[in-house]
């Protein structure tokens, strides 16, 4: 298994007015291809900032970040945009679909920002992905015509359209009831198993972390613990709730 992510002593300091906030104070982490990791931590622990750094939405104050073998810690805005477009798939707590365009257009959106992508291929691929997440029938609906779980599945399809090397999910079940949330987690897990997709899920919900093979706990901007999950449940045969 090759290494896909390596964080080397990453820090992030920002200022709220004049108050200096050391959100991340030196984090080193290595993630291999195909791993399914959950990052846990109380609010204010710095886990969101780490997520933004890994997602190339933010630049580290110091330290180095290698994604897919490339040092991305010093790239400019445009290059980071290209990295986000091609190598990273985001799934958010609030789904973040665009309300004015329909499901298939939402799924295609990242491909629109890739000048090399052909729109016909993107559309075909979007329809396949919708099939995969079980929403092919609803492809022409607008996001506000879908339930929360359905919206999150559209968001997952969107995250996969440009074949990212890593899927980042930030509290993906935070706005869902426990049953729907479980379905989303199972979908993420099955993507990990069937496509060998590397996934990092940020959460504070223990019912999610039990589906992940590795749990990283963050506290006060530092990694508190990083261990294998001995109690990881299997998807098949697991009947709960």
């Amino acid at each position: 298994m090759g290494e896909i992510i390596r964080l080397e002593n990453l820090t992030k300091t920002y200022y709220l007015d004049i108050i200096k906030v050391e959100a991340v104070r030196g984090v080193s982490l290595s993630v291999n291809v195909g791993e399914l990791i959950s990052i846990m931590g109380p609010s204010g622990s710095g886990k969101s900032t780490i997520m933004h750094l890994i997602g190339c939405l933010d630049k580290p104050t110091s330290g180095r970040y290698f994604l897919d073998g490339q040092d991305v810690s010093t790239l400019n805005d445009d290059k980071l945009a290209i990295i986000r477009n091609k190598k990273i798939g985001f799934v958010f707590q609030t789904f973040n679909l665009l309300p004015q365009i329909n499901v298939v257009e939402n799924v295609m959106l990242p491909a629109l920002y890739d000048p090399q992508a052909s729109l016909n291929e993107a559309k075909e691929k979007a329809l396949n992905l919708l099939e995969r997440v079980g929403l092919y029938e609803r492809r022409m609906h607008l996001p506000n015509q879908l339930s929360g779980g359905e919206r999150q599945r559209v968001a997952i399809a969107r995250a996969l359209i440009n074949d990212p090397v890593i899927l980042l999910a930030d509290e993906p079940t935070g706005n869902l009831d426990s049953k729907t949330g479980l379905e989303i987690v199972k979908l993420l897990r099955s993507l990990n198993e069937s496509e060998n997709m590397t996934e990092i899920i940020v959460t504070h919900d223990p019912s999610i972390t039990r589906f992940t093979e590795r749990i990283v706990k963050i506290k006060d901007g530092l990694i508190e613990s990083d261990e294998r999950n001995p109690k990881m449940v299997e998807l098949i045969g697991e009947v709960e709730e």
Partner: protein
């Protein structure tokens, strides 16, 4: 990012909020249509004034009473004091320069009546030289002669529209019918001796609605001696410059001082284009102000739109939109809104300008004003769109995503 895809994205946002798009468009629609409309007044005035001055002919000078008068000041009676111009001046000039033509002008407004038909008109007292110094041509009948003038005869030559209005029918028929009929003008009965060819309008004055009568007759009827102007045509053997100087010298001898003004077509054209150019520029400036106000409206609404769509911008950036993609998307939106508003404004302004009765107020929509309207609205859309679009493009994706 391919431009076509960005354009499509801009359209989907524009479609999403039709009311707001329309409202921000409205400022440009009003601005461009008023720009088109008011410059059409300017160009219309310019066109009608210049063409009527050109119609004078290049060998004609006009004498006005008073020093430094213009056609306008003479027409509204604002002249400096001193000896006015009289018909005696005309007779004197004719005597001294026999092969030149001198037509006096004494104008008043009146009605013209035949049986039950009655129309308001302009009555101009003049002499037999009028047809020689101006572009008027007789369609039928005869010019005034010495008898008419010397004898204060109640005869008249009427414009083509007067004939048509009083003696229903087409141009030729009505002219034939008008000949020899007696019409009532200024409380006197006048015998129609001629009908003129159609001429068109001179500014607000419709030249085809004029009744010409002998100068001596009108002087008696309205009890007024002073002429508004004398139109003088140089003889073939004399340059306009020399002729003007000669007329000036002769009048100086008669009046003692220079209490009159002599102008020729050249000076008039210059003066008129100066005046109408200032007029048009001033009107255009007013229109541009309206357009800038419209542009500020667009900027205002785009700024509100950027704030409202902060989250959308965050999402787009998170999935790979570059700053430039966001900038162009918003810039396209404002440019599209502005240019569409501009095109609607051009159509609307042109339409309204056509609604004006052309005899009252001539309007002219020139290709220049259409181009100016189009490109200014495009520029305004881009100029006032850049700031909001830049603001959108520079949003931090993390903060934009957090925005509620």
């Amino acid at each position: 990012m391919k431009l076509l895809r960005l354009l499509k994205m801009s359209f989907s946002s524009i479609k999403l909020n039709k009311t707001r798009t329309f409202l921000s468009m409205l400022g440009v629609i009003v601005g461009v249509s008023s720009l088109i409309l008011i410059t059409s007044f300017g160009y219309g005035a310019q066109y009608s004034i210049l063409s009527s001055i050109q119609a004078l002919g290049s060998d004609v000078v006009i004498v006005f009473p008073g020093r430094d008068s213009t056609m306008v000041s003479a027409a509204i009676g604002v002249t400096s004091s001193g000896k006015p111009l009289t018909y005696d001046d005309v007779k004197y000039l004719k005597l001294k320069v026999p092969n030149a033509k001198f037509a006096p002008q004494l104008t008043t407004s009146s009605y013209v009546k035949y049986e039950n038909a009655e129309y308001s008109t302009t009555v101009v007292g003049t002499n037999e030289d009028l047809i020689n110094v101006s572009n008027y041509k007789l369609k039928i009948g005869r010019n005034f002669n010495e008898d008419d003038i010397l004898g204060n005869k109640n005869v008249c030559i009427v414009g083509s529209k007067i004939a048509q209005q009083l003696f229903n029918g087409d141009e030729t028929q009505s002219a034939d019918q008008a000949m020899g009929k007696s019409v009532k003008v200024l409380n006197g009965k006048f015998h129609i001796i001629g009908v003129l060819e159609p001429q068109g309008a001179f500014g607000a004055l419709d030249l085809d609605k004029i009744v010409f009568v002998p100068i001596t007759t009108i002087q008696t009827l309205i009890n007024k001696r002073n002429l508004q102007s004398i139109y003088a045509k140089a003889p073939p053997d004399l340059s306009l410059e020399l002729f003007g100087a000669r007329v000036k010298r002769l009048l100086l001898i008669r009046h003692g001082t220079e209490n009159f003004t002599i102008r020729n077509q050249e000076q008039y054209l210059q003066l008129a284009s100066q005046v109408t150019n200032i007029f048009t520029v001033a009107l255009t400036a007013i229109g541009l102000v309206a357009l800038i106000v419209g542009g500020i409206g667009i900027m205002n609404i785009m700024l509100a739109s950027v704030a409202e769509r902060t989250r959308e911008i965050g999402i787009r950036k998170a999935i790979g939109a570059k700053n430039r993609d966001i900038l162009l998307q918003f810039l396209f939106e404002s440019a599209f809104v502005s240019v569409t508003g501009g095109v609607i404004g051009i159509l609307l302004g042109t339409g309204i300008s056509k609604l004006f009765p052309q005899t009252l107020l001539q309007t002219r929509v020139t290709p220049t004003s259409v181009f100016v309207g189009f490109f200014v609205s495009l520029l305004i859309g881009i100029f006032f769109g850049v700031y909001p679009a830049r603001k959108a493009s520079l949003l931090n994706p993390v903060e934009a995503l957090r925005y509620e």
